[in-house]
């Protein structure tokens, strides 16, 4: 099967073109480094099936970070390269194009963002460019699909370029080409450009960031609480509960099967949080407690990603991040981690050195709870008052900065400075935004529901087999002695390996007092990543660093949990 590589600078729209060509859904955003691994798909090329690879973006064929390394490694084994070029930045993009031409692979150039180029007064003579490079050049607008048909039609005409130049003279050559094919007409600054300038200027940028943060929190809370209060809880309470009570009666209000499916009745009624049955808690937790917040969070995150705000935020926080051995871009793994730690850990590939990747992955795994866990903490601790939430998240933030400071001192290696391209602000494209939302929410549903149900099942089995009693006895010195929690809390810690949201839910029937709830929430957030995150971390960090990271995690949890128990 022929292999087609999509290559180009970061943030030029390779992933969108990939989706258009193959129909495979991939996450596309407006910041450099959205794609850190490669995705494969297939398309028809001259009647035959061909493989298409969405390669991470790179500015040149000399890689500077892990994601770029992936790109350069891929470059050798393609039968055909589609070089995606940002038409609004022709000169800079041609740098990679010219390097690719030297590889002597059949190539087609897609001049993407053609509409935006026109809009800002850049005209490119694509025929002349085609003539100079010696490979087909096709203008495209990937987000709307314009030009994609032409691109597909031109693929069989792909050929190695005929441009020859000296490596030393590359920029000279680029200058010569740009002069011949590009015309720029002057125009006035747009509102988005002014906003762009304002958000990187510290005097206006910091207030803008605070407002953005405030608005983000309010929207997530409003949407999350609204969806729960007006839609999901009523559905469960008014429609699902009576149905389950009937089933409970049929099953004889008790017995093994009843306990597995419905769970324990609390005062003769189903309690969706505490009953712990597959059909009650197993569905209520992922759908009615977690999903609304996951939806709200991803809506905002997707909007921020597509608008181009994240790299600007990275510049504003760069200073703080330097104190913990990272630079501003490390805010991206932290933000993605707030959704789910798995993509968070993957995105550390945009950082350059081992030290940075180790610190950011470890801090994220310890101090950044995922949306599912957040939702459960807000649901349980928040019920008892805002003070608990402040204590839980305040502690995690404090640990993040303290541990980061220590790791920066202790971990050897380099912490390079930030160097990032800042994309223009773009109004998020509705079709792209909703597609991304759908991908993320459906992925959550596909992964969360089976795992939550499995978690609930395991809880029941472990209780029935008295395993939890046994482990509880062994671990009592730590759980009760250091953390001040009842022995049974060990069950939540065990299930937390599988799913953190179920684990937080399991605290509810334990009758913890307010302070114990705070300690338990913090401990559950910190002590270990869930199994999905664990696997990705092991892959990204390697075995040695993974073990080190785990040890830091456990030590930090014991210290922080112990101190918190002693203080409260």
């Amino acid at each position: 099967m022929k292999k087609i590589l999509l290559m180009g600078n970061p943030n030029v729209g390779k992933s969108v073109i990939f989706s258009r060509l193959t129909g495979v859904r991939v996450i596309a955003s407006n910041y450099p480094g959205t794609t850190v691994g490669y995705t494969r798909g297939t398309m028809k090329l001259s009647g035959e099936k061909a493989e298409v690879v969405d390669v991470p973006g790179t500015y040149s064929l000399n890689p500077t970070c892990k994601a770029e390394e992936v790109a350069v490694e891929m470059c050798g084994d393609g039968d055909l390269v589609i070089n995606v070029v940002d038409a609004t930045n022709l000169e800079r993009n041609l740098n990679l194009t010219l390097q690719l031409l030297k590889k002597d692979v059949p190539m087609v150039v897609a001049l993407n963002m053609w509409d935006e180029a026109k809009h800002i007064g850049v005209t490119i003579d694509e025929n002349k460019l085609e003539h100079l490079l010696g490979v087909p050049v096709v203008p495209t607008v990937a987000v709307t699909g314009e030009g994609i048909k032409d691109l597909v039609q031109q693929l069989p005409q792909a050929r190695p370029g005929r441009l020859t130049y000296d490596d030393e003279e590359r920029w000279h050559e680029i200058g010569r080409i740009v002069e011949q094919v590009q015309q720029v007409t002057h125009r006035h600054h747009t509102f988005l450009e002014r906003l762009g300038d304002a958000s990187i200027n510290p005097i206006s940028g910091i207030p803008i960031a605070l407002v953005a943060l405030g608005v983000t929190f309010s929207i997530i809370r409003f949407l999350g609480e609204g969806l729960i209060g007006y839609i999901f809880e009523p559905i469960f309470e008014n429609m699902w509960a009576p149905l389950m009570m009937k089933l409970s009666a049929i099953l004889g209000s008790g017995g093994f099967l009843h306990d597995i499916l419905i769970g324990k009745l609390v005062a003769g009624e189903i309690d969706f949080v505490e009953s712990m049955g597959l059909l009650t808690t197993g569905l209520f937790v992922p759908l009615a407690m977690v999903l609304p917040y996951v939806f709200a969070f991803y809506l905002i995150l997707s909007f921020l990603e597509d608008s181009g705000y994240l790299p600007r935020l990275a510049i504003l926080v760069d200073n703080i991040m330097h104190r913990i051995g990272l630079h501003g871009l490390a805010i991206i793994p932290m933000l993605l981690g707030l959704g789910c730690n798995v993509p968070g850990a993957m995105s550390t590939r945009i950082l350059e050195t081992r030290k940075e990747r180790f610190i950011s992955t470890t801090l994220m795994a310890i101090c950044v709870p995922c949306a599912a866990q957040l939702a459960m903490i807000v649901g349980l601790v928040g019920r008892a008052g805002v003070r608990g939430l402040i204590q839980v998240f305040g502690t995690l933030a404090l640990v993040w900065i303290t541990l980061g400071y220590l790791l920066n001192r202790l971990i050897r290696g380099e912490s390079p400075e930030i160097f990032v391209e800042i994309p223009p602000y773009r109004l998020p494209y509705l079709a792209g935004l909703s597609k991304k939302m759908w991908m993320r929410v459906s992925r959550f549903l596909r992964e969360a529901i089976p795992f939550v149900i499995l978690g609930v099942l395991i809880v029941n089995v472990l209780y029935t087999l008295k395993v939890i009693d046994f482990v509880g006895k062994i671990t009592a010195p730590v759980i009760t002695g250091i953390l001040g929690l009842p022995r049974e809390a060990v069950a939540a810690l065990m299930v937390g390996f599988l799913r953190k949201d179920v684990a937080v839910g399991m605290l509810s029937p334990l009758g913890l007092d307010f302070n114990q709830l705070v300690v338990a929430s913090v401990v559950l957030a910190m002590y270990f990543p869930c199994v999905a995150t664990f696997v990705v971390m092991a892959k990204e960090l390697g075995l040695r660093d993974m073990v080190l990271s785990m040890m830091i995690m456990i030590a930090a949890t014991l210290v922080v949990g112990g101190v918190l128990n002693w203080l409260l």
């Binding site: 040149s60 850049v122 990187i200 510290p202 930030i418 160097f419």
Partner: protein, 78 residues
Amino acid sequence: MERVNLTMMKSGDRGTVTEINGGQRVKARLGALGIRPGAKITKKSSQLLRGPVTIGMGNTQAAIGFGMAKKIIVDLEQ
């Protein structure tokens, strides 16, 4: 003509890069984005406490850490 490094420029100043005062790696990283001798740039902003410097070149904007920005030598346009 006044010759300064990038951190000394004021927001809104324009100039031409004359020299990258660093090793091969820094040159390669900056060069990949087109920041090289001869490039015409505009300084967009700087952050407090020796934070990153933002520049514009054509339609590209980039943020550069303070230490790296110090290595970029620019001839100021009057």
